[in-house]
């Protein structure tokens, strides 16, 4: 089954590695798929993915769970993987 086309928003720090784009279009059904396709389409983003990217799905932030299914029409926003105290 072909994954849906999605708009993925990038935080400012990622944009230089994605040709300055604020958002990118790609096909992905899960966070894992999203990360893979992102690196395939924008190889300069791979170091950021390796360092750690969190994914906001409709406002809920996923730092680690790459098995998360991306709901239809969900807002997807990539964020830095934050630290806490």
């Amino acid at each position: 089954m072909t994954a849906r086309a999605r708009t993925v928003h990038l935080w400012g720090g990622l944009r230089p590695a994605a040709d300055g784009a604020e958002s990118v279009e790609l096909h992905a059904g899960t966070i894992r798929e999203l990360m893979r396709v992102l690196c395939e389409q924008y190889p300069k983003l791979e170091p950021f993915v390796d360092e750690g990217i969190a994914v906001s799905v409709n406002g809920t932030i996923y730092r680690d769970d790459w098995s998360q299914v991306l709901p239809v029409d969900a807002e997807i926003y990539l964020l830095p993987r934050i630290e806490g105290g």
């Binding site: 400012g12 230089p16 409709n58 809920t60 996923y62 680690d64 807002e75 964020l79 830095p80 934050i82």
Partner: protein, 753 residues
């Protein structure tokens, strides 16, 4: 995590009650064992030699005289650590624990000794000859970004800018967040204010200093006992630095006398392990208070430029900030967190934040409770009050009018789901505190705060004892009552009394990896795992009952701590006498052996958190002394598992914020050396400095936890700097723009006026 974590409204029996914490008696009677309380037969005493210079290249280190001193068993320097092909991130960790070619700050470790006693070890330190070439230093964040500032790292080229800079600088990274067009937004404003705010570098101020005992065996395995917020991460990093398999190093965590983020990083642990390896004896190393201040965990010092615009009717039209945070001599992501959180409380069409990570000759910046958010909140929330004053609107009404809500695009990017900033503000507006009459020289302030919270990896075991009592084994350190909370969760799931559950923190050899207790994740993530473990054990308990009754397991339910047969299958099942947990445990040897549950998860969906604080101060205009007269914390906690410890977290964050706001600050001399490395000159608040801090818990359920639990540990430190700053500014009629607002600063502000 692949499990159903959806919130389901329910009535609780155990969760939400306030039983005594299981570690309480040991802690108040002195029986509890903290890091420095552990000892081993034949152990040596470790001591560390530290740089007296703020910035110096290390030309040579001669340890020969120290090694010859009677009673000295090992001396280590950087050359005792294998660094070839090492992970660059671990090399940075190591460089902070033991300097390489350069000492980057006053207190940077350069050598270490293990000897038969402390006296001998200290004498040996004096015999180590280090030849330094003193370099120019810089400790101030704004001085460090000037073109002619001494360069901390010649290979530091600012990341996050395109194209990559051709010249090295002390700005390690730039990050940007926001949306809209701030210039257009400012055009719509009736009032625009621009200001610079500064905050001093503060320490977490944990009472227990860093301490550990390491025992490295000739067979290549090792044990470590340590005070830490994350013994699994300590294991992974120490093993990496020492070139060991992680499984060969077993780390046991002690009780922890405060961490607040400062015990998420390594400081002395790899050094202690290296000393033990070289000496072939156990080694104990405990930092002095002087060392804790000079060489561990302060937060960033900051300089923040803010610009905000508002219409006469109270709509904030645009907001912009540049946030410069010190990160010590190594690149960090502290300004980025400030830039993400600065305007997170508000619904803004046009917003832009830029964070700059600035290298300086200060100790490596470390996480401190909602790291970086309090400083950003100080700047922004101070300006929100000033905007309100300019347009003649109350500070609380301006905040309510502009508060973020479900559907708001957060200043850091995504659109919010259900959030609690609005309810905390409404609760503040209606709180009795707001109506208390103020006395002479007293004034009131308020502020809001935001923090992300997160989850992470957690792994738990649930074991049913032969008498039907239960042990929940977790791998997250208990920093604030988590054992009580997790025992309540297990009692709730199993349907047994809290008193029949014991929560235990396992060593690294006894459970799968657990992330640290940070990011307000301890109770959120480990309770998810504990619930999962319980549900696995309950499934097994139903099977055991089905065996005894010789019926299908589908005809057995678990209810109120008992297995009950239902008549879904064979007729007449419901006439059977229920089997209690104790009944099933006692017969376990006849039904398949021990009964247990296990869970390993990656917890996500912690849910963001908001708070509103109200503060009354009394300022003595002759001395500049500020007293906190009244203080109220209102915060969305999701479901409060143990309300007393939720309140404790609220109060603890506020108390630390009060200290930071009024007194706490690293003070450096012209020589770049820390002038106040002790609690006499770095003054944290004591009981007599604080009023009873009132709390109001708002229980807005987290949709991503079966009970609705959110993290609660960090958000409470975010608003105090600004709430107190606003109160003091209202009291003296002068806008305070620098933290701490110590008596000399208040007097200076009054005199300037």
């Amino acid at each position: 995590m692949g499990k159903d974590t959806t919130f389901k409204a329910r009535n609780f029996n155990s969760v939400g009650t306030r039983p005594l914490r299981p570690d309480g008696i040991d802690k108040v009677t002195g029986r509890a064992r903290y890091g420095a309380d552990f000892s081993m037969p034949g152990q040596l005493q470790g001591c560390i030699l530290r740089s007296p210079h703020a910035h110096a290249s290390i030309k040579s280190i001669d340890t020969s005289k120290a090694e010859k001193l009677k009673g000295v068993k090992a001396v280590v320097t950087r050359k005792d650590f294998i660094t070839k092909d090492a992970d660059p991130a671990l090399l940075t960790v190591l460089d902070n624990c033991m300097a390489g070619k350069t000492a980057f700050y006053d207190g940077h470790a350069v050598a270490a000794v293990a000897a038969i006693d402390a006296k001998t070890a200290k004498k040996a330190l004096q015999l180590i000859k280090v030849e330094y070439k003193v370099l120019k230093h810089v400790t101030d964040v704004d001085e460090a970004i000037k073109p002619k500032a001494p360069l901390i790292d010649k290979k530091c080229f600012t990341s996050g800018v395109d194209p990559k800079p051709s010249k090295a600088s002390n700005i390690a990274a730039r990050s940007e967040f926001g949306h809209g067009d701030v210039d257009k937004g400012f055009e719509k404003a009736d009032v625009i204010i621009e200001r610079n705010y500064k905050t001093g570098q503060s320490h977490q101020g944990y009472i227990e200093p860093h301490a550990c005992v390491a025992s490295y065996s000739p067979d290549g395995t090792a044990d470590m006992w340590v005070c830490t917020q994350g013994h699994f991460d300590f294991r992974a990093q120490c093993a990496g630095i020492l070139g060991m398999d992680a499984s060969k190093l077993r780390v046991t965590s002690s009780e922890i006398g405060g961490g607040f983020g400062g015990k998420t990083h390594l400081w002395i642990e790899p050094v202690t392990l290296a000393l033990s390896r070289k000496a072939n004896r156990p080694v104990k190393l405990v930092m002095t208070r002087d060392e804790v201040f000079r060489a561990s965990g302060p937060t960033s010092a900051t300089s923040i430029d803010v610009k905000m615009g508002v219409t006469k009717d109270g709509t904030i039209t645009a907001a912009e900030a540049e946030l410069r945070y010190t990160s010590g001599p190594y690149a960090g992501s502290w300004a980025r967190l400030g830039a993400m959180t600065a305007f997170a409380c508000y619904d803004l069409d046009h917003v832009k934040t830029v964070g700059l990570e600035v290298l300086v000759n200060r100790p490596k910046t470390t996480a401190y409770r909602a790291p970086s958010a309090p400083m950003a909140a100080f700047a922004v929330e101070s300006m929100v009050d000033e905007l309100a004053e300019h347009i003649g609107m109350s500070a609380v009404d301006l905040r309510i009018k502009n508060a973020a809500k479900e559907g708001t695009r957060a200043s850091y990017g995504p659109v919010y789901g259900p959030i609690g900033i609005g309810p905390t503000l409404e609760a503040a507006k209606n709180h009795p505190h707001m109506k208390v009459k103020l006395g002479k020289n007293q004034s009131r302030g308020m502020a809001c705060g935001f923090w992300f919270n997160f989850g992470g990896q957690s792994c738990t075991d649930l074991n049913i004892g032969p008498d039907g009592s239960a042990t929940i084994t977790v791998g997250t350190i208990d920093v604030g009552g988590a054992r009580a909370s997790l025992a309540l969760v297990v009692a709730e799931e199993l349907g047994i009394p809290y008193e029949r559950v014991k929560a235990v923190i396992a060593d690294t050899g006894s459970l799968g990896h657990n992330d640290m207790t940070d990011g307000s994740r301890g109770t959120f993530a480990s309770s998810l795992s504990a619930i999962d473990s319980c549900r696995m054990a309950i499934a097994e308990l139903r099977n055991r009952a089905a065996q005894i009754w010789e019926i299908d397991a589908d005809d057995v339910i678990w209810e109120n701590g008992e297995a009950k047969a239902i008549s879904k299958g064979a007729a007449g099942n419901s006439n059977r006498e229920p089997l209690s947990l104790a009944n099933l445990a006692q017969s376990a040897h006849k039904t398949g052996g021990p009964i247990s549950g296990h869970s390993q998860i990656v917890a996500d969906g912690a849910g963001v958190s908001f708070a509103t604080h109200i503060c009354d101060v009394e300022v003595d205009k002759e001395t500049g002394q500020t007293s906190i007269v009244r203080y109220t914390v209102i915060q969305d906690a999701g479901k409060a598992v143990h309300p007393t410890y939720v309140e404790g977290q609220f109060q603890g964050g506020a108390a630390q914020g009060i200290g930071w706001a009024l007194n706490e600050e690293y003070i450096y001399g012209d020589d770049g050396r820390l002038q106040n490395p002790g609690f006499l000159d770095y003054r944290i608040p004591v009981c007599s400095d604080l009023p009873m801090i009132d709390t109001q818990i708002l229980e807005i359920p987290n949709p991503n936890h079966p009970y609705g639990v959110r993290g609660v540990g960090e958000t409470s430190i975010v608003p105090p700097l600004a709430a107190i700053g606003n109160a003091i500014s209202n009291a003296i009629g002068v806008r305070m723009t620098q933290v701490p607002m110590s008596p000399p600063r208040i007097l200076a502000a009054l005199n300037q006026e």
